[in-house]
Amino acid sequence: MSRRSAWARPIISGLGFSDVGRRLGRSRYQLTVDAILAAVDDAGLQLADIDGIACFPSSAVELNPGFNGPDLYEVMDGLGLEVNWHLGTSQGPAQFMSVIAAATAVSAGLCRHAVVFRTTTEASAQGAGGRGGLGTQGTQTEGVLSSLLASGAVSPANWTAFYLRRHMHEYGTTREHLGAIAVTERAYAALNPRAVLRSVMTMDDYLDARVISSPLCLFDCDLPVDGSVAIVVSAPETAADVRHSATIEAVGTAMRHRPYWEHWPDLTSMATHDAAEHMWSQTDLRPGDVDVAQIYDAFSPFVIFWLEALGFCGRGEGGFFVEGGKNIGPGGCLPTNTWGGQLSGGRLHGWGFLAEALHQLWGSADARQVDGTEVVVVGVGGGASASSMLLTRGS
């Protein structure tokens, strides 16, 4: 197990959003500029203070339409940034690879204030035709998804369904357990003006929803949106200069198994487990110290896998932990995805969780606020890559 000796506990000093919605009709470039300028303002900084920038993914071939944001260099050019550090990357520990890389650069003193953004225009790019399988853009796919795609399993819904079916088979997880996640998150979304789906969902609504890939139904799948989210990662010694701060206490980036959905040793665990273990190895805080959880839910079973991976319950107990929403809902022992998750808040590809973690720590979560929040865990990724971060309230 690695022992971290040089992590300087960088801070997140600003958060910014563009508009978030379905088919906004604005370019990915303009959404990105909106979010970055808002984040820099939120930190109380000027663009001239920004000397680092990162994003995920990079300008690689798109997995599906609207997945990639704008080109990193074009963003740097549009904002006139002069940087000491920059990185645009597609392969790494899931959706926070960019945040963690920036935090590492800040921690090492390579830069002082790094902006990190994630932009998606999947709703506009899909258009009226709706969601397609992966790889429809390209004529050939390479890499760790290519065997899956070549076999006829063209959607992550299929791959996730394999995992969920196995988890049900081994541990007795039920559709009602998954339904509790969907229903609870929809209830939270009703309190979030930025959420895209806010009407009431009952368990009957969930159980009657059309099947996407059994056992997954429509309400187990997240909703593509257009939007951009940006943060500023800053050196800890700047805490007095910025408007507010949240400390990046620990991060988990480990991947200790084969990076393939189909060859993962056991389909009842994922890279979530490696990342969570790595994160906990680098802090004295423990699951019992966590006030609020923000957990990737591109498909609802990921919440169950993350809860088990993070140690909030035992292996195989995740379904029973979320049953009825009593633990994860308002007033529960572990309020989870208090913004509505990607199931109801929209598919901001992990970044909605980071934003809500910051709102909870900064006391700006309005009607969703969990009083006294001091420690939030954020976990992103499903399948063979994952990352997690433990964030604490700054000074």
Binding site: Q140, T141, L149, A150, G152, A161, R166, V211, S213, S214
Partner: protein, 144 residues
């Protein structure tokens, strides 16, 4: 559910074939499922790599995987990725003694309930979706 392969041969995305994987697709065209096996330590390796991740050996042999494999999990896809698609089942299988390697494919000809742990046989079909390559799918296993 019985599923003819006709019509679902159009489902999939063409893989870029690295030099190491050419032998796999050539074997599939002959109706054989192959993996690598390390000549030094015996580890089975897939995708084909030319290197053993356990002992770093560089001498690998192709071995044919014989059915039955065991159904490890499955799903029935309902969402129509193209207009007019009917539901179809997909399976993920593992072979006994294959060091954790699993294969994914369409399940063809399965009537009644699918059951984790049931044995499956192999069959192959040409797929226009993957540039005319021949790929594996799974069939009910008839005990001989």
């Amino acid at each position: 559910m019985t599923l003819p392969i006709d019509g679902y041969e159009a489902l999939g995305v063409r893989p870029m074939i690295e030099p190491e994987m050419e032998a796999f697709w050539e074997a599939a065209a002959r109706g054989e499922l192959v993996v690598e096996q390390c000549d030094a330590c015996g580890l089975h390796v897939f995708p084909l790599r030319g290197v053993c991740r356990r002992c770093r050996g560089r001498s690998m042999s192709l071995v044919v995987v014989e059915p039955p494999a065991i159904l490890y999990s499955y799903t029935v896809n309902h969402h129509p990725w193209a207009p007019g698609m009917e539901p179809y089942p997909l399976g993920i299988v593992e072979g006994p003694g294959l060091d954790g390697i699993r294969f994914v494919g369409l399940l063809a000809g399965f009537d009644g309930e699918l059951e984790i742990g049931q044995p499956v046989g192999f069959a192959f079909h040409k797929s226009s979706a993957i540039g005319g390559l021949t790929r594996l799918h799974f069939t009910p296993w008839e005990r001989r």
